[in-house]
Amino acid sequence: MTSSAPPEDPNRVRSASSRSAQTGSPLTASAGTASGASSSGSSERASSSGDASGPQAPGSAHRVVLDHAGVCRAATRIAHEIVERNRDIEQVVPVAIAAGGIPVARLIVDGIREIVGRALELGELDVTLYRDDVVGRGKRPVPHRTRMPQSVAGKRVVLIDDVMFTGRTVRAAMDAVIDFGRPEGIQVACLVDRGHRELPIQVDFVGKNIPTQRAERVTVVELEPGILEVRVA
């Protein structure tokens, strides 16, 4: 299973590029690549085979920026930070953002279990129906099933995703969580923060900061169940 930086919607990449062109920021240089690439219509959260480079990056194959060992170290560190920040760990409800956040969240929940000696039950949240860019986009993604095994009311929800990019996925996820009840607080953990925020959203727990060009694609690839690596193309 391949999962990618959630907000890779071609339309948004294109509009973002034209925005930076107007303001004359250094990102202008990559704008051409961005719109050219998106016209090839690569789909986000797309299919298997793990070839993250795809047709949109001519001549540049992907590079692995975090191998499985690195992913495990990052997940363990995030687990420690979550436990440190939330001394009352039974107040914490971990919720993976489907589909990309699920394998990452499993590693983090495993890490927490090794520290505190008990497994937290993991929720899975699909935010497709909460996104601000679903209607009007040609092909609709098929939503993943949402599973919220326990109430979030009065609890501290830790949202877990693979790649933090524009912040729009987290915005949608916060709305979705609040529809399930009023949590005492919401925190955000992600394996990779690649920058380029479009909303005022911060991450509480980061596995690795990876500076990227806006037009690049960052994907977390599940090579086999539980074995992840992070690629940039």
Binding site: Y130, R147, D179
Partner: protein, 235 residues
């Protein structure tokens, strides 16, 4: 896929995508807040020119759970009773910036005609003896939930198959999804030419339901028959 007019021309992949989407959305109706913001600010007009409870309420609930604004128009309270033509009324509704039009009518082909007139997506909620595609999608979904799949399942449709739009839509959808479809009923109520689609006509109800995974029982479509096929109702 812009309109949903029938299952006869609906590609198999679209049917499967709709079923999978439904699978994920089932959970929304079990939440405390049964609503997602997907269609916020969109307007859905439900134009029901023939009696309906289940389908009309289902469409209204669907629009509301997706946060769209639903407006329901019936035949008696509408301008149709003032002799405004259907196409004029539909164009007026579309000029009011509706985003989706759901239509039920007693005449076959009305949704398809409106789809040609209008720029917005049209959904057929049942047209005469023609089709009722959303009912067929729901039935397919139910069969899939109950038996774990549709490919290779045996479905018996019993009763007034010839005059039932639900049966017609179901036959097209289920055959595309790989089910074995059997039909049985009084001779005058058997459709003509369905064998070409792969449907198996049976001479008795017992034969049709033998080993079936699902059975659909159809009532007699009295509102469409006008007494032609019976000597009396008691028969």
């Amino acid at each position: 896929m812009k309109h949903l007019l029938d299952t006869e021309t609906l590609p198999r992949e679209d049917i499967l995508r709709l079923l999978e989407t439904t699978e994920a959305m089932l959970e929304i109706s079990q939440r405390e807040v049964k609503k997602v913001p997907t269609l916020r600010g969109r307007t859905v007009i439900n134009l029901f020119l023939e009696a309906s409870t289940r389908t009309r309420v289902s469409f209204e609930i669907a629009a509301k759970r997706l946060s769209a604004d639903a407006i329901n128009v019936g035949a008696s309270g509408s301008s149709l009773s003032k002799a405004e033509t259907l196409s004029d009324m539909a164009r007026n509704l579309s000029a009011m910036q509706a985003d989706v039009l759901v239509v039920r009518d007693r005449n076959a082909g009305v949704p398809a005609m409106l789809a040609r007139y209008l720029d917005i997506p049209v959904i057929n909620a049942g047209d005469g003896e023609h089709e009722h595609p959303t009912q067929a999608l729901l039935d397919a979904f139910t069969i899939r939930q109950a038996t774990g799949g549709i490919e290779g399942r045996i479905v018996a449709i019993v009763g007034d198959v010839a005059h039932s739009r639900v049966a017609r839509s179901n036959i097209h959808a289920l055959i595309k999804l790989g089910a074995e479809v059997r039909i049985a009923g009084p001779r005058t109520m058997m459709p003509v030419g369905v064998e070409e689609l792969g449907v198996k006509p049976c001479s008795s109800m017992e034969e049709a339901v033998d080993g079936a995974h699902a059975i659909m029982m159809l009532r007699i479509q009295l509102e469409r028959l006008q007494g032609a096929l019976f000597a009396s109702l008691r028969e």
